[in-house]
């Protein structure tokens, strides 16, 4: 009994001893961190890359967009999305040229424009973050016992940003050793990028020991030229208005050659201290700790250039008081701590304890957080309201769709019968039900390929897809009878092929074949069953699925697309014939080809937003709705919760560098954390009493056994 009591005492002591430095015992952060001006965020899987030439996913951008600053950014509060200068002094000056390099006017026709030049001027006096790579002495000699934690203890300095840093980064994009995901795409536009890449490849083979910085600096890209330290020009093929959107992505953020040189040291490489993990930027924050298996910490860049909270915003932003900090110097917080949180349950519980400032809502916790009113609008539950938690919702600029392979004999092609079959299926598959069951109501049914928030999307009656819906005081899905009628016209009355007399069997290819997706696949079978069509699920792994898609062997599939930038071209190109995946290796996964659509696409893609462009888009949408290469599916709706101390949050689906605008009331957070996390010890006392009570009969029996005879 004495041993047990000692154990319990020791356990209690341990808890108190380890937690005594804090006012609460369950604080997952180091002492004192909770009271500082810090944002607590998380990441669910370690980012693959933090090199802006390689990173291309949202979890990577959440970190690097706070560190690297490209030339342009999306205005935080203005809608529709609008680009503005970031490290650039102004928006680019664009000059057009014909095939003989003669200058053309701004009103030149697309067919005349052979080249465009983007004249880019950067702001004065921008400096890089403090970093040891700018201390050139360290390039010659580094302490051999250095580790990641000591990196920032090395003597650091900075230098002023120049146009060379942007040019160096473009060379890095083209460098075969970097393996940038957009190298192939950009080679189609930037003059000389492809040739530069080939020459670099040859240099690597010929002189394998040549230093990367030397190799890149020894050559130039024909379409990228320096005017002076503040200005440079990028020359691209033809007219490509969306190019400026690419310039707002981290791919085109400046990179100092010193960083590349510094990190090429084998001592650092052996410790996994590379440019891919320890960025060097000009942004509002710089990385001070990177343990991608535990946490990533950013601190305010002491050399950050003057940048201020916006003074204007959308009416909605003004209405909810988001201009209170207008004109204040950015960033508004000193640190950001991203902790690795792989599982949603602990993440959610820590959010409720006040240890994360904001949270998405997983399916597991959706009912705890959100309820829908009779009118269908989402609101917070009483439990959330008691905690002063706020809710923001926004329809994402993404599309999740069910595609038909247009090369398939049964569901594809342009014949009237097959078109009617696809239209019938479009009506039968009830995406309202799908959103309700599998998305907890978080989504809106798609009426076309273009999601809300992107130019070309039309709201209300004008935006309805008449092939699937009708407008009767709101959106109404066409009846299943209409679908059956279309099916009959397609030659499959009651799901039976009129030519063979055999039941119609269709195939759905998917990588989701595990138990988690069983309900979803059963639901899909049920939707086809409405038309007496037998749906066969062909489950496979990721590699085989991708292979089937590349070879055009799938019949039907589900896929999605997230916007790279807010332009209809970035969605319409998914149906452009020259992007057909099985034919040209592009992103048109359904291999849809319609000559009229393609011509309109070529016309629309080079236009500025205007009523004329809207007309063309309307026509393209009409054609694609009739051809129905996709079941348009849905656009997911993002739900975010945030605590009352988390200020200035505003949904912006294009901007990745939002952290600098956020503000934390750390005193309020501390107050709530203490209120919500007071240790409760009485259950331990009850447990102790129960154990003591149980020990009494055990002790009595022990004495009895001890007193009994041995044999």
């Amino acid at each position: 009994m004495l041993k047990n009591l000692t154990g319990i005492f020791f356990f209690t002591f341990l808890i108190v001893a380890t937690g005594c430095s804090d006012s609460v015992l369950n604080n997952p952060y180091a002492s004192g961190e909770g009271s500082s001006n810090v944002i607590y965020s998380s990441f669910s899987e370690r980012p693959k890359h933090l090199d802006p030439a390689k990173a291309y996913s949202s979890n990577e951008y959440a970190i690097i967009a706070q560190i690297y600053e490209p030339l342009f950014q999306y205005h935080y509060l203005i809608r529709p999305y609008q680009l503005e200068p970031l490290s650039a002094k102004s928006m680019p000056e664009i000059k057009y040229f014909d095939k003989d390099d003669n200058p053309l006017g701004a009103d030149a026709t697309v067919s005349d424009i052979a080249y465009s030049e983007y004249w880019l001027t950067i702001s004065d006096g921008i400096q890089f973050q403090p970093h040891p790579s700018f201390n050139l002495e360290l390039h010659k000699e580094l302490p051999t016992d250095i580790d990641a934690e000591q990196l920032y203890q090395l003597p650091s300095t900075t230098r002023v940003l120049t146009s060379d840093d942007f040019i160096y980064q473009i060379k890095r994009l083209a460098d075969p050793a970097t393996q940038s995901p957009i190298a192939g795409l950009m080679a189609n536009y930037i003059i000389g990028l492809s040739d530069f890449s080939k020459r670099q490849s040859a240099l690597i083979k010929q002189f394998p020991s040549l230093r990367k910085t030397q190799r890149l600096q020894s050559d130039t890209i024909a379409g990228v030229r320096k005017i002076n330290g503040q200005q440079f020009v990028i020359k691209i093929k033809g007219k490509y208005p969306q190019f400026v959107n690419w310039l707002a992505m981290p791919f085109f953020a400046p990179m100092p050659w010193e960083a590349d040189e510094f990190y090429s040291n084998p001592i650092l490489k052996a410790k996994n201290i590379t440019l891919d993990w320890f960025p060097v930027g000009t942004g509002p924050y710089y990385l001070t700790e990177n343990n991608p298996n535990r946490r990533i910490v950013l601190a305010k860049n002491p050399h950050y250039h003057p940048a201020f909270y916006p003074k204007e915003g959308s009416i909605h932003a003004q209405k909810i008081g988001l201009l209170k900090d207008a004109g204040k110097q950015l960033p508004l917080t000193d640190n950001v701590i991203f902790s690795l949180e792989k599982e949603s349950i602990p993440y959610w519980n820590k959010f409720l304890q006040g240890y994360y400032d904001a949270s998405g809502i997983s399916s597991d916790s959706f009912d705890q957080a959100v309820n829908f009113s009779s009118s269908g609008s989402a609101g917070l539950t009483d439990n959330m309201l008691e905690r002063n938690i706020g809710l923001q919702t926004a329809v994402t600029t993404s599309s999740y769709y069910l595609g038909f392979n247009m090369l398939d004999k049964v569901v594809g092609g342009n014949s009237e019968a097959n078109k009617k079959l696809r239209q019938a299926i479009s009506i039968a598959v009830d995406y309202e039900e799908y959103i309700s069951i599998f998305q907890n109501g978080r989504g809106v049914t798609a009426q076309s390929i273009i999601p809300p928030g992107i130019f070309g999307h039309l709201e209300g009656e004008k935006g309805v897809n008449p092939m699937v819906y009708e407008w009767r005081d709101g959106l109404k899905r066409r009846s299943i009878e209409k679908a059956k009628e279309l099916l009959k016209e397609a030659g499959y009355e009651n799901g039976v092929d009129s030519t063979t007399g055999q039941p119609l069997v269709l195939y759905f290819d998917t990588m989701d074949s595990g138990p988690d997706s069983k309900a979803r696949l059963n639901w899909l079978r049920k939707q086809f069953k409405k038309l007496n069509i037998k749906l066969v699920i062909r489950g496979t792994d990721y590699n085989r699925f991708q292979e089937k898609m590349r070879n055009g062997n799938a019949q039907m599939f589900m896929w999605g697309w997230n916007a790279d930038y807010p332009d209809p071209e970035n969605f319409m190109f998914l149906l452009y014939g020259k992007n057909a995946k099985a034919v040209h290796g592009g992103e048109n996964a359904s291999n849809y080809q319609n000559p009229t659509f393609d011509t309109l696409f070529e016309q629309m893609s080079t236009m500025e937003n205007s009523p004329e462009r809207q007309e063309i888009i309307d026509e393209m949408i009409k054609i694609s709705r009739e051809d129905a290469p996709w079941l348009w599916g849905f656009h997911p709706k993002a739900f975010s919760l945030y605590h009352s101390w988390y200020k200035n949050a505003y949904p912006n689906l294009m901007a990745n560098n939002k952290t600098k605008y956020l503000k934390i009331d750390s005193d309020l957070r501390k107050k709530y954390q203490e209120k919500w996390n007071q240790p409760v010890v009485w259950p331990l006392i009850v447990l102790l009493i129960i154990v003591l009570i149980l020990l009494v009969p055990a002790y009595l029996m022990f004495k009895r056994i001890e007193r009994s005879t041995a044999l």
Binding site: F11, T18, N293, E341, K342, E343, P346, N543, P679, L711
Partner: protein, 325 residues
């Protein structure tokens, strides 16, 4: 014994070659080098040229097992299998397909795994042995019945349930420990209390029942009766004689897993945010990172063999009758 150890160590080489061949075949049956490149480069805008470039830079542009274009021994050595395997036998784990030094990653991640695994093992074994000996002590009484019932109940509950309820009850409702997280050094104590506690409790049912069966078998032997006849108390018999004689199977179970402790626990580390090695291999399989998969399988096999060898050696320490020839 030295001869025995040397012989066993020499057996390691063919076993590891076999494991390496098997890993290689299983991996490349499912994933081609092109698939690996696509996985690393992402889905968007990837061209065949980028894929070829990725393969060339990492040596995946070579034939898998046999290079017809090479001459002589190079037919076998100028292949993916040879170039990726040869370093392993001198414990050069190389660079992951994602560009990170694998040995450095393992060196960094093994400590948090050990911080959970070692206390869980030590406390777990002590608690299990104590409880199982007490069950033997109270054999035939309602306490034994209640104890066995309790053990079966504990065994019947999923490990994940312990974690979720433990986090909810101790971390959230009682607010006594952080729900998840980790900091290095002594501050780690407050983060490892809960996972260790849950590890011990979740293993209690099966552990106690296993040790109980060992001790039951031992306590039926003649020397126990003799000891009791000589007037030793039941407690003395159990803790001094039965425990000592049941050490061989206990050691078999413990020593064999000792080298593998640093490999960590997938679910525990994932739920508690412990930056250990638990998910290292699984993450590598998911991201089709062959360099990590082959290194971890190789290392795991090697450590398992070493564990078995240590078990054999430990027999000689606890049982003088055992001789290794």
């Amino acid at each position: 014994m030295i001869n025995y150890i040397i012989r066993r160590l020499l057996y390691v080489i063919p076993v590891l070659i076999g494991v390496n061949v098997l890993t290689f075949i299983l991996f490349f049956v499912v994933n081609s080098p092109d698939d690996m490149a696509r996985m690393q480069l992402g889905d968007k805008h990837v061209t065949q040229a980028s894929i070829d470039n990725w393969k060339q830079q990492r040596g995946y542009d070579l034939p898998l097992l046999w290079n017809e274009e090479s001459a002589g021994l190079s037919k076998a050595s100028n292949t993916i299998f040879f170039t990726k395997s040869v370093g392993l036998f001198v414990f050069d784990l190389g660079i992951s397909d994602n560009g990170r030094d694998i040995a450095s990653d393992i060196g960094q991640r093994m400590w948090p795994s050990l911080a959970i695994a070692i206390p869980s093992l030590i406390i777990g074994v002590l608690v299990n042995i104590t409880f199982s000996l007490l069950l033997i002590f109270y054999r035939g009484s309602f306490l034994e019945f209640a104890g066995v019932f309790f053990c079966i109940a504990l065994m019947s509950i999923s490990g994940l349930f312990y974690i979720i309820v433990g986090q909810l009850f101790v971390g959230k409702m009682l607010s006594l420990t952080p729900i998840s997280g980790y900091v290095p050094g002594l501050d780690a104590i407050k983060f490892i209390i809960l996972p260790v506690l849950i590890g011990v409790v979740s293993g209690l049912g099966s552990g106690v029942r296993w040790y109980r069966s060992l001790f039951l078998e031992e306590s039926a032997k003649d020397y126990v009766r003799t000891a009791k006849a000589k007037g030793l108390s039941d407690l003395q018999v159990l803790f001094k004689h039965v425990l000592k004689n049941a050490m061989i199977p206990i050691l078999t179970g413990i020593v064999v897993i000792l080298p593998l402790l640093f490999m960590g626990s997938l679910i525990t580390e994932s739920f508690f945010g412990i930056p250990g090695l638990g998910s290292y291999t699984i993450d590598a399989i998911t991201s089709q990172d062959f360099a990590i998969v082959r290194s971890m399988v190789f290392l795991g096999s090697f450590l398992y063999i070493i564990g078995l060898l240590l078990t054999d050696i430990s027999y000689t320490l606890v049982d003088p009758r055992v001789r290794l020839d």
